[in-house]
């Protein structure tokens, strides 16, 4: 006869209630671990999706994700010309906030080096990569835009042609991908008045130079809206992504590293920068919070199991007096602890399945969490039953004779 199950049957409502409460607590613990894993994954997914061997960024910066990086566009051609380089493409990254049908959208806008990079390596779940260098964008599904919808950016409509899943920044912003040229258009978008004023400043600067004074026609050129003023520099890019032929990584890196205007990182270093810099504090905070929650759960489980055992003291004393083998009584406590843990985890799993997709931050239940969480739960409830087991050991069977 299984005493643990008999006791549960007798106090079924209370036991299920306790398991439910424990389950909700475990849900929070698993959610914290999932958020932690999601944050780590989010932090690196952008870098990983680019599938570059080397990231060339502005000298002495940790760009483009950790801080701003402004790189002369000529770096792309310089890198592409190096022996051992298979492909070099520009990359831009900026965060914008736009109003769309009354809702504020925060978007991390990534510029892809069209036509070399049309976004084929992105985690597309619907739609297609970019097929033209202007007017198309790929967005993360979390933005809530459907395929074929239009988003107005810098006064021009951009049609959604592809949807990704879980392309988020470490800050939780959804990512949208356009060509680098479009990204720069959007970044440099300014009102007409600002353009007029800028042209006026160019004219003023020309008048202050011998060239301007000697060539008055340059002023007309600077103020003519059909012409681009020669004094305005080409817009910078945030990084240049380089793909290298096999076994050439070290050589190419050494050459690029010797350039005075850039810093170069490998893919692994870029990911480490993201984890170590951008999300380090958040990781530690969530990690510590997870540890505290896990300990709290363990203590609560311990007290629940101890109280369940304490309530049965007299019954256990009687059973001891009857000569019940010790393993039967210890088994009663342990089996109830395991049952409580299993039920609690089942509740946590079910609640998680329903609730986690609705969380504002991604809750990523990795394979490790999926295996370790139930295992850890069973270990915790086993350890938590120590107090109860000790109590069983200490029960004096003569208490049964005391009425």
């Amino acid at each position: 006869m299984n005493l643990a199950l008999r006791d549960v049957r007798r106090h079924l409502g209370r036991f299920l209630g306790t398991a439910g409460g424990l389950g909700l607590l475990l849900t929070v613990v698993v959610a914290m671990q999932g958020i932690y894993a999601g944050m780590v994954d989010d932090a690196t997914i952008l870098a990983r999706a680019m599938r570059a061997d080397l990231w060339i960024v502005q000298r002495d910066t940790r760009g483009p994700f950790a801080e701003g990086s402004r790189l002369d566009p000529s770096v792309e051609a310089r890198a592409a010309a190096l022996p051992g380089v298979r492909r070099a493409r520009p990359y831009t990254y900026q965060t914008i906030q736009r109003d769309h049908h009354g809702q504020i959208m925060r978007i991390a806008l990534v510029g892809l080096g069209w036509p070399d990079d049309a976004g084929a390596s992105l985690p597309l779940v619907r739609g297609r990569p970019l097929q033209q260098g202007h007017g198309e964008l790929i967005v993360d599904a979390s933005l809530g835009l459907a395929l074929g919808m239009s988003l107005t950016l810098a006064g021009e409509p951009y049609r959604v042609v592809g949807l990704t899943r879980n392309a988020l920044t470490s800050g939780g912003d959804s990512v949208a991908f356009v060509s680098v040229a479009d990204a720069q258009l959007i970044a440099l978008d300014q009102p007409a008045e600002a353009t007029v004023l800028e042209r006026q400043r160019v004219v003023e600067r020309l008048r202050g130079t011998d060239l301007g004074r000697g060539q008055p026609a340059l002023e007309d050129l600077a103020t003519d809206p059909r012409w681009r003023a020669p004094a305005v520099a080409s817009p910078p890019v945030a990084a240049v992504l380089v793909e290298v032929a096999p076994h050439q990584l070290a050589a190419v890196r050494a050459i690029v590293g010797s350039w005075g205007d850039v810093t170069v990182y490998t893919q692994a270093e870029q990911e480490a920068l993201l984890l170590g810099g951008v999300v380090q504090r958040a990781r530690m905070q969530i990690g510590l919070f997870t540890v505290i929650l896990t300990l709290t759960a363990a203590v609560i489980v311990m007290m629940v199991i101890y109280n369940l055992t304490l309530e049965k003291t007299h019954d256990l004393a009687v059973l001891k007096l009857m000569g019940a083998p010790r393993r039967r009584l210890l088994g009663l406590v342990l089996q109830q602890a395991w049952l409580l843990g299993a039920l609690g985890y089942a509740v946590a799993y079910t609640v998680g399945q329903v609730a986690f997709p609705a969380f504002p931050r991604r809750v990523l239940i990795t394979d490790t969490i999926a295996v370790l969480a139930p295992l850890a739960t069973m270990i915790i409830v086993t350890l938590a039953s120590v107090l109860g087991l000790t109590h069983v050991q200490r029960i004096d069977p003569s208490r049964a004779l005391e009425g």
Binding site: R10, V318, M322, A324, S398, L401
Partner: protein, 238 residues
């Protein structure tokens, strides 16, 4: 035939120094199989201490306890597996029925069969409940049973392992006189029909005729009890 249980010169003291209380003061006692004995005496006279010592629950400080002719406790030291002895050969009935609260009436008896290593526990439990006239309540939990029904189930549980010694500590204290007598008669029936030795601690003098032997304890000493002598010694009614 060896007595079911025999004690020689049992001594037990609680506390030390001036606060010391002698609970057992050289108690020698034997109970033959198939007999039922009553143990009388005022509160604090040592009855429960003797029951605990004879039931291998709390050994005496000094003295010997033999079970079925075998020395099992000597001067407080166990010479055998006492839990196993209790499981296989002893039955207990308490002042309160002390049934396991989360088991039904039948399961309370069945679990004792299991502990006692008796096969086919469910069938045996049903038979015992029928024997004690509570078969109709086998699915009821203890809290659903009346006091008398609980005690019957408790006696059935005590019989589950076919014990050679049943120790009952004030089993009728919570019952009215009619039910008390019924329970005492059950003990006699068990002793005479099943050959068990039964020792019942009681304050109830109304059913003493049921017992084969009467003992009383006072200040830790055990002596035979004679109802007539006790009545004669009692002060005349006012």
């Amino acid at each position: 035939m060896d007595p079911a249980v025999r004690s020689i010169d049992l001594r037990k003291t609680y506390g030390v120094g001036s606060a010391a209380v002698t609970a057992l003061d050289g108690v020698s006692f034997a109970l033959a199989p198939g007999t039922v004995a009553a143990l009388l005496g005022p509160s604090g006279s040592g009855k429960s201490t003797l029951i605990k010592a004879l039931g291998f629950v709390s050994p005496a400080d000094a003295g010997e306890v033999y079970f079925a002719g075998r020395l099992v406790v000597k001067d407080g030291a166990a010479l055998a597996d006492l839990a196993s002895l209790r499981r296989r050969h002893l039955g207990f009935v308490f002042q309160k029925a002390n049934l396991t609260s989360f088991l039904t009436a039948r399961e309370n008896v069945e679990i004792a069969c299991e502990f006692g290593g008796k096969p086919d526990g469910r069938r045996r439990a049903r038979a015992l409940l029928e024997y004690l006239d509570v078969a109709g309540r086998e699915r009821a939990y203890p809290e659903m049973l009346s006091g008398g029904e609980q005690q019957r189930v408790a006696i059935a549980r005590a019989l589950a392992n076919e014990p050679s010694l049943i120790l009952a500590d004030e089993p009728t204290a919570a019952l009215d006189s009619v039910r008390s007598r019924t329970v005492m008669e059950l003990f006699r029936k068990v002793a005479h029909e099943r050959g068990a030795a039964v020792l019942v601690v009681t304050h109830d003098h109304r059913a003493l005729d049921v017992f084969d032997h009467l003992y009383e304890m006072e200040d830790g000493r055990l002596r035979p009890y004679h109802p007539a002598a006790a009545t004669a010694a009692a002060p005349p009614p006012a």
